[in-house]
Subunit: 276 residues, 2 copies
């Protein structure tokens, strides 16, 4: 296999995202076709499907040997990290897309033999692209993101959904209580790729969730890695990019503090259950 020209890939993907975003913006002036998937608040629209198909056609045409894991199922059933793998979400934050018509993103992460190589997270309505090529620095549009520095829990802004603070199937609702109590404040934006990008950009100090799919976190983890952010499953295990997983992502220092707290809570008997 010839070495890939990642700069050329970046130029292509940015152009595809621009075209996909034009389709998305145009769609918001008319009615959306919305239907439910696994649950009442797990929505899919005609635009999720149309934009996914559009992007997959572009990827397959330019890189026919690559594999694609995507939210709406037009991609491949990849079961290996070998080769080049695309993790694609045409609309991350579909609930925001439907209810708010903003705060949603196109998320594309590209891995080679399991290593993150290129990431693109585009906030369509605010025209804000978080992107990087591994080793070349991460950017918010044209502005290079700084390497993340340490922060204490007391000064930290944490992003986590209220879901994990009331009784639920995935985590004892008391595990995160002390962290929420000690931190400076909590936020929740409802679009995982953007929330991971916000950690990378320093707008948030940590992001925590018990349930994400590869297309949700694929690009975000690459971006985080590029700026020195730390991440793992909730219990500190390495994330398998082919699987649904919990995600704890944070600035260095804060990550270790939060991970130790969660491990300690689990040791005391509180439960964590990974998604499957």
């Amino acid at each position: 296999m010839a070495t890939r020209d990642w700069e050329a890939l970046k130029v292509k993907v940015m152009q595809w995202i621009k075209e996909a975003a034009d389709q998305l913006r145009a769609s918001l002036s008319g009615p959306l076709e919305v239907s439910e998937k696994s649950a009442h608040n797990d929505l899919v629209t005609n635009m999720d499907r149309a934009v996914e198909q559009f992007l997959i056609d572009k990827i397959r045409s330019a890189y026919p040997d690559d594999k694609i894991i995507s939210e709406e199922g037009f991609g491949d059933a990849a079961d290996t990290n070998d080769g080049v793998l695309w993790l694609l979400d045409p609309i991350d934050g579909t609930l925001n897309f439907v209810l708010q018509k903003r705060f949603f993103a196109i998320s594309i992460g590209v891995y080679e033999n399991g290593f993150g190589k290129a990431a693109f997270i585009y906030d369509v309505m605010s025209d804000e692209l978080f992107h990087c090529l591994s080793g070349k620095g991460a950017f918010q549009n044209d502005k290079q993101l700084l390497r993340l520095t340490e922060v204490s829990i007391d000064d930290a802004l944490l992003d986590l959904s209220a879901t994990w603070l009331k009784p639920n199937r995935r985590i004892d609702e008391n595990i995160m209580t002390d962290l929420v109590r000690r931190c400076s404040g909590t936020r929740a934006y409802g679009a995982a790729s953007l929330e991971l990008a916000y950690v990378a950009a320093g707008y948030l100090d940590a992001y925590f969730t018990m349930r994400l799919s590869p297309w949700d976190y694929g690009a975000g983890l690459i971006l985080l890695n590029e700026v020195g952010g730390s991440y793992s499953t909730a219990e500190g295990a390495q994330i398998d990019i082919l699987s649904k997983t919990s995600v704890l992502a944070a600035r260095p220092g804060l990550y270790e503090y939060m991970a130790a707290h969660i491990r300690d809570q689990v040791k005391q008997g509180k439960f964590i259950r990974e998604p499957s």
Copy 2:
């Protein structure tokens, strides 16, 4: 007292906000002077004070007989609704201002004899102004906001801080649990005036907090009233615009549902404690 020309007031306030926002944007390129007020995460910066003083000078010069209640204390100690009262927050979302350099707003609400007359909530970094004159329609920049329609709890996006879902002094952390479990999703942006404006604009279906000051909610409630939103204290009492208070604000229908749920929980013995 001569009848006030509210259209002329609107033109003036919009110009003042524009100038204040220019100062705020310019300040973000240099270092901020940050200090703590009542708590570790209750911050004030040199810019909160400078912009408050700037706006108060403008108000006093144009409307010398009016009273002003403002966050940083350069206003008046108003204890009556008589006459014209300005509720002013130079930077709502100071933690966002300091940590994110965005998602903060200038909030100005103007009341006459206790009735909301004019509201201005300006998201400085996204250049988005939510505004209204009572009876003349509410606007997001130039776009008129629609009258709010009903929504069920199952389809609702609720905004509330994680603070109210873990043990705290103001509300039994279990009161909101069933609402969070049933709704479509939760959000938290960390700037009350914007969150109230988002309910008015239909981006959120409800906003709930146990602790706001007049300058935080003054403009937001006027905007909500203009589009048919409902609001009260957490327990359903009318809000006294001179006092710190809890706030439940929502679309019609959803408001009644949430208020009834909270009343029922309190009747069952769970506590709510208003701020003083």
